[in-house]
Symmetry: C2
Subunit: 282 residues, 2 copies
Amino acid sequence: MKVIQTVKEMQAWSMSQHKKGYKTGFVPTMGYFHPGHLSLMKSSIKRTDKTVVSIFVNPTQFGVNEDFSKYPRNYERDLELAKEAGVDMVFLPAVDEIYPEGYDTYVVTDKLSQVLEGKTRPTHFRGVCTIVLKLLNIVMPDILFMGQKDIQQCVVLSRMIQDLHLKVKMVIQPTIREKDGLAMSSRNTYLSLEERKAALVLSQALEYAKNQVEKGTSNTAFIVNGMKKLINNESLADLDYIAVVNRYSLLPVKKLEGSFIICLAVYIGKTRLIDNYLFDVG
Amino acid sequence: MKVIQTVKEMQAWSMSQHKKGYKTGFVPTMGYFHPGHLSLMKSSIKRTDKTVVSIFVNPTQFGVNEDFSKYPRNYERDLELAKEAGVDMVFLPAVDEIYPEGYDTYVVTDKLSQVLEGKTRPTHFRGVCTIVLKLLNIVMPDILFMGQKDIQQCVVLSRMIQDLHLKVKMVIQPTIREKDGLAMSSRNTYLSLEERKAALVLSQALEYAKNQVEKGTSNTAFIVNGMKKLINNESLADLDYIAVVNRYSLLPVKKLEGSFIICLAVYIGKTRLIDNYLFDVG
């Protein structure tokens, strides 16, 4: 496994892979790998000739009062895990390699970035779109691998790729969970033992919703109220939002049919966690 | 000369040119060609193997009360002129081919878009960056040819290309002028005979500034005041701004040294005209 730290070298390597006729897969990450990241890497290794992983804690996707500086980092461990997984190339740039002095360009989606996570984190998706477009132009992959846990990120980036006429394909991999159902996230490391237990309300609320949908319940408000009750019963949990939205527009749906998402964000103590289920009905 | 109207066909053609090893040049336009456009095309034909011209009056770069609907169009004449000039390919998409339903993605430069033209036209450069990035991803040129008349556009796009790690090179061609000095612009067709005469104050003010700089005058305020006087003496002219700015940051310069721009925007009747000179001193 190779490690590259500069844009110039990374672009040269990417070009050379294309010239050799290799199909490349790309997994952009902020590091601190958990089985969710590793599952994306394995999927890429299976489906492409060369797999590139980037590790970059991207400052522009954190709000002013968010956890950029304390976001967990362990590059040494990450590099070992990537190597074990069979990754070919790790792109590990410094912040000023990506955002040099005078940097001024941002990519945004307009409507998709204003809802759900975007309400609580108004500049988050601007940062996400900007860094991912930059990385796509640096790594030039054939397939981009993203995790369903950040479903709005997947929807936003998929729209960006379509709108900007990029040729990369996106594969969305199912969320990897702990045995008890908690969605894997680097932010889970913030949780105390007690909070770790309380964090189960997210997946439990989604399981409740899934059972209701499978039963044929079509009343969105009924399902959301049931989920709210479960979360309000957990004293360490503080609900940010629950939403039932269209898979592509992220606008609220009233009838539970077609492709839709039930998603939620909950503060467990000071840690904000998100989770979602994707449904295809009818 | 071929004409293509869909993104898919254009991308396929562009890819095929690259596979054949051709170097391609690209001139993005809003049509209604004048000698300024033709000079960009000729420059591309001279320096590359295949020249692509796009004609697209881009709605997203016009403000709500600007002249999108009345912007002059004459596609038949444009196609004839491009053919005569020796252009290989014209990309002529419809608006909903470029901005289909659900379109949501925009590219912006932050600081560079807020000054000069951006003050009077707050969403203009968002539209310019967005359409040019889209066109670059569709046409995939090796060299992009732009006219110096829209100098802020050149500076903004050059920054965007650098920030997004695009491999295209930009060539900025000198402004083409009428014999009496008026910078060529499709908007000149809005002018009455009387206004056409009055419009000369823009280039006259710039000539005054140039003479001052060549004389060694280093007092920016003195030069700007001289330019203002000239414009205020013309009863049909209404000054929007005069600025002396750094070539890259577009921030005001006090000392006239290095690479700087003197630029201005003036209303002649209801028509807003711009012009600029680029200086390299010292």
